[in-house]
């Protein structure tokens, strides 16, 4: 089947097998290997991307279902050489170790902050509860997302003042 998916703002047209998973489309067809794969049962969340701004597990979406839609992957978070606040937060607060869960966590964090700019610890824990991390015990991921919320807030305040 012929599909066109807009990934990180760039439309891509490909001929694909109907059974091709979105995660494999991104990784194998578009060479966007920042999106990972980690389980067979939609539990781990390392494949999380945004589909029209909503975090989805790309192992549970067929590539053909993304036809005509917009996908954001970790490669699309950095804009004009400027890291997203969530990317900075993960570095500041040591929110990653092996880095395998990180792209998915970042995309969920970004979607959370878009919806709830000032989340508390409970809201953050709930937002990432569908994604596993085997390294960090989640503590520093929570702190990283809080850091990003605060940093974005500071930017917004200083912009408002100007």
């Amino acid at each position: 089947m012929r599909i066109t998916v807009t990934v990180n703002g760039q439309p891509h047209t490909r001929e694909v097998e109907p059974r091709l998973l979105l995660v494999h489309f991104l990784r194998d067809e578009l060479s966007l290997t920042g999106t990972h794969w980690g389980c067979d049962t939609s539990n781990c969340g390392v494949c999380t991307v945004q589909l029209d701004g909503v975090p989805v597990k790309s192992c549970t979406v067929l590539a053909v279902m993304a036809d005509g839609h917009e996908v954001t992957t970790v490669e699309g978070l950095e804009r004009d050489g400027e890291l997203d606040a969530v990317q900075k937060g993960f570095v500041e607060c040591h929110g990653l170790q092996c880095g395998f869960c990180t792209p998915g966590m970042l995309l969920t964090a970004r979607a959370l902050l878009d919806r709830v700019p000032d989340p508390d610890e409970g809201q953050i824990r709930e937002a990432i509860s569908g994604q596993l991390c085997r390294c960090t015990g989640y503590e520093n991921i929570v702190r990283s997302i809080r850091w990003a919320a605060e940093a974005s807030q500071k930017v917004a305040e200083s912009e408002a003042r100007q």
């Binding site: 869960c101 990180t102 990432i128 989640y138």
Partner: protein, 782 residues
């Protein structure tokens, strides 16, 4: 000064999705492999028909045990000097065992082809319950081994049996408890896999694979496959978590290599999650019977334990050769105990091989769990507070170096200080008061204490080797003319941040910024030999090698600086990161200045080579002994059996902390593991050997919701043997925390008179315990 929190160098690529994991490796002309696995736990392989699979247009090769037998590769050695089938020839011995390997144009087609392979099996009775493995009529699993008439692997003991037994006979009080440390799996989020590329023209084999021990892999491939070692290059790229599960060589790796040799093209094989959980190394599976002898007022005198160790169908435990039960004999723990004795019997069962693979420090995990549970059982018997009982028996600072009753020499420690700090941090007395109030109201809360002493950083190589390879690590340090450095080490990070920490060590020793040090690792063509990253040995061994090699460079720099200053080397001192004439800091020469001079036409004394580069091999004189005190608070709902971890305080002493931010991250991860093992994770089997934890729907890992916000404290007792006083920390929390959680749950169940229940304490299991109906957590049959 380079020690202290520092952002990680490796983060820049990971936050951009630019990590390079094995599955990200893509080579021109690459083919894809898939493994056909056994549906049976124990069955004779009658026939394998691959013709339909081979007829698929996209299939390039189908490899079976017969193919491999022709190459002498059907069996391979394990890390415990046993053998393991690469692809089954005679029988399958666990569910999920490798039976055939397909190589195809793409990964989906390879999987399609698996469906078309027709294997005829003759099912056999399986040995699933380890306690029945030595029954007289038990089916013999390893009939491939000459003269093997039963499922017995080894008997091993440590300590002084006679003295221990004598103390038991005279003791005021003895307690005994059976406990199971169930089979668990490290489940890193990246599964195992490999890309093999055999170049027929050059004869060079390159293997990308997430291995924690790239050099050991290279040597083993050379020994097994008969390939010359200089023609093998193992590249361990970024690893998505390892935790011990990525130490050994798995059959799929060998199949990918054979696939590449047979097809003449690169072959990638990545296992899926079920394959990962069913076939790669599990951990624990220790059935333990512990006993403690003590005086009436709570002085512990002796401890003894009998263990039945379930090793699965092949003995594949990754541990030093001399120690078939790993370092389990450190089970006298953190206490001043006169005598100790343990006996361990290893048996085969129809389950996947493994045993040492989950941040366990070669079974210190099982040892700590045993002694920490036993101390709580004793506290219940004596009606003493478990923290008081520990305080009464902990080793005192003046007893170090301490010779343990089972032959260890603990390097350094101040145990009471760590326990006191943990009790202060959590507000121990107040919590006990709260608990008493709650009990009066019929509410259940529990406070669990554990204290652990780890033994990490193997060698020394005299006592520790794997398949004859001594556990010592090399390091190489080059300093470029402008003073920037490249460090090459043999160990390999799976998330521990070596690129940062090791750069900090070099920076500290040479007086240069850590940012000026590049760390090269994970490529056997680029790095010196060493045994790898597991058993918390990176900082204790490779980190020590790094400090030593940097000091060698510094010593060479001293000679060059002396020539620059026209002074005698003996008149120089190292101060503020520079070599200067004693008492005259203004003469100080920085490493950058010295490096440039070392590469210049500066005249050096007779017999002194130019440049600053150095190499070393570090053979540790002793293990290092990190320790810590953990306290966990839980609330328990008697109606549902649900346990909620309310608070967790962890005081860790891992000696000098190079990058405290990274150290704390390591501890956080280990604490989550502890909560997972105590409350959720288990690999259970039904009576036919069907694996009941073969997906993340059934093998439950802790999420952000089960984990509390960890509260960390620290004390620092430097290791006297390590060049910078560091002890290693990667596994401390995984080793120490399960007992704290279980002790808290059992404490909560005090009103029910419960003294012990096995992990995992899931709501169902807790509910059964409350209702007086405890349950075997490893078997689906009660």
């Amino acid at each position: 000064m380079s020690y202290g929190p520092m952002h990680r160098k490796e983060d820049a690529r990971f936050i951009r999705g630019r990590g390079n994991y094995t599955d990200d490796v893509r080579l021109p002309g690459m083919l894809y492999g898939a493994v056909l696995r056994s549906p049976h736990a124990h069955a004779r392989v009658v026939s394998i028909d691959t013709s339909a699979a081979e007829a698929l247009p996209k299939v390039k090769a189908v490899i079976t045990g017969q193919t491999l037998a022709g190459l002498g590769l059907a069996w391979m050695p394990t890390l415990s000097q046993d053998t393991q089938a690469v692809l089954a020839t005679d029988k399958v011995r666990f569910q999920g065992q490798e039976v055939a390997f397909v190589v195809a144009e793409d990964a989906y087609s390879a999987r399609d082809a698996l469906e078309l392979i027709d294997v005829e099996y003759e099912p056999l009775d399986a040995v699933i319950d380890a306690r029945k493995a030595l029954d007289e009529n038990a089916p013999v699993i390893r009939d491939d081994l000459e003269g093997r008439a039963n499922n017995h692997i080894f008997d091993w003991d440590a300590g002084d049996r006679a003295r221990t037994d004598a103390l038991f006979e005279q003791a005021d009080v003895t307690v005994a408890q059976d406990m199971l440390y169930p089979r668990v799996h490290p489940a890193p989020l990246e599964t195992c896999g490999a890309v093999a590329d055999f170049d027929k023209v050059t004869g060079k084999l390159t293997i990308w694979c997430p291995t924690q021990a790239p050099h050991a892999h290279r040597t083993l491939y050379a020994m097994v496959a008969g390939l010359p070692e200089h023609k093998i290059r193992v590249i361990s790229p970024d690893i998505g978590g390892g935790f011990g599960g990525k130490v050994g060589i798995y059959p799929g790796y060998v199949c990918a290599i054979v696939g590449s040799i047979v097809t003449g093209r690169p072959v990638k094989w990545m296992e899926d999650r079920s394959e990962n959980l069913m076939s790669t190394a599990f951990a624990r599976d220790y059935h333990m019977h512990g006993e403690i002898a003590a005086t009436r007022d709570g002085k512990i005198q002796a401890i003894r334990v009998k263990v039945l160790a379930d090793h699965g169908a092949f003995n594949g435990t990754a541990q030093p050769t001399k120690f078939p039960a790993g370092f389990f004999h450190v089970f006298s723990g953190s206490y001043d105990i006169e005598a100790a004795h343990c006996e361990v019997t290893g048996v085969y069962t129809n389950k996947a091989p493994g045993g040492v693979a989950y941040a366990c420090s070669f079974r210190v995990t099982e040892a700590v769990y045993l002694v920490e549970r036993m101390v709580d059982v004793l506290a219940a018997e004596l009606n003493m507070d478990p923290a008081d009982l520990r305080m009464r028996n902990l080793l005192k600072p003046e007893q170090f170096p301490y010779h343990s009753p089972t032959g260890w020499e603990y390097d350094s420690g101040d145990y009471p200080r760590a326990l006191r700090l943990a009790m202060d941090m959590i507000g121990y007395d107040k919590l006990r008061a709260e608990q008493a109030d709650k009990r009066a109201r019929g509410e259940l809360m529990g406070i669990g204490v554990s204290f652990f002493t780890e033994a990490v950083g193997a060698g020394p190589r005299k006592h520790m080797d794997i398949l004859g390879l001594g556990m010592a690590d090399g390091a190489e340090l080059r300093v470029h003319p402008t003073g920037k450095a490249v460090l090459r080490v043999s160990c390999q990070s799976q998330g521990q941040g070596h690129e940062t920490t090791f750069a900090q060590i070099v920076g500290q020793e040479l007086g240069i910024p850590a940012d000026d040090v590049e760390v090269v690792h994970g490529d056997t063509d680029q790095t010196p030999f060493g045994l790898g990253t597991y058993g918390s040995r990176s900082t204790p061994v490779s980190g020590a090698a790094t400090a030593i090699v940097a000091r060698k460079v510094r010593d060479r720099a001293k000679i060059v600086a002396a020539a620059m200053l026209e002074a005698a080397p003996d008149d120089l001192e190292w101060a503020d990161g520079k070599w200067s004439v004693v008492g005259d800091p203004a003469t100080g020469k920085s490493m950058a200045e010295i490096a440039l001079a070392a590469h210049s036409n500066l005249e050096l004394p007779e017999g002194v080579e130019g440049h600053l580069d150095a190499v070393t091999v570090y053979n540790p004189p002793n293990l290092t002994y990190p320790f810590g005190a953990y306290i966990c608070v839980v609330d328990l709902d008697p109606g549902t059996g649900q346990v909620k971890v309310r608070r967790f305080v962890a005081v860790d002493d891992c000696g000098v902390r190079i990058n405290p931010m990274i150290v704390e991250g390591q501890i956080h991860g280990g604490l989550a593991d502890g909560v997972g093992m105590a409350l959720m994770q288990v690999m259970a089997f039904d009576e036919d050997g069907n694996h009941l934890g073969a997906s993340f729907m059934d093998y439950l890992l802790p999420t952000s919701m089960e984990c509390p916000s960890w509260e960390l404290g620290e004390t620092v007792t430097p290791s006297p043997t390590h060049p910078i006083g560091a002890k290693g920390v990667g596994e401390s929390a995984t080793v120490g925390s399960p007992a704290a959680v279980v002790n808290a749950v059992i404490d909560a169940l005090g009103p029910y008179g419960v003294r012990h229940a096995d992990m995992p304490l899931t709501p169902a299991n807790v509910w059964r315990v409350i209702n007086g109906d405890p349950f075997r957590t490893d078997l689906a049959i009660p």
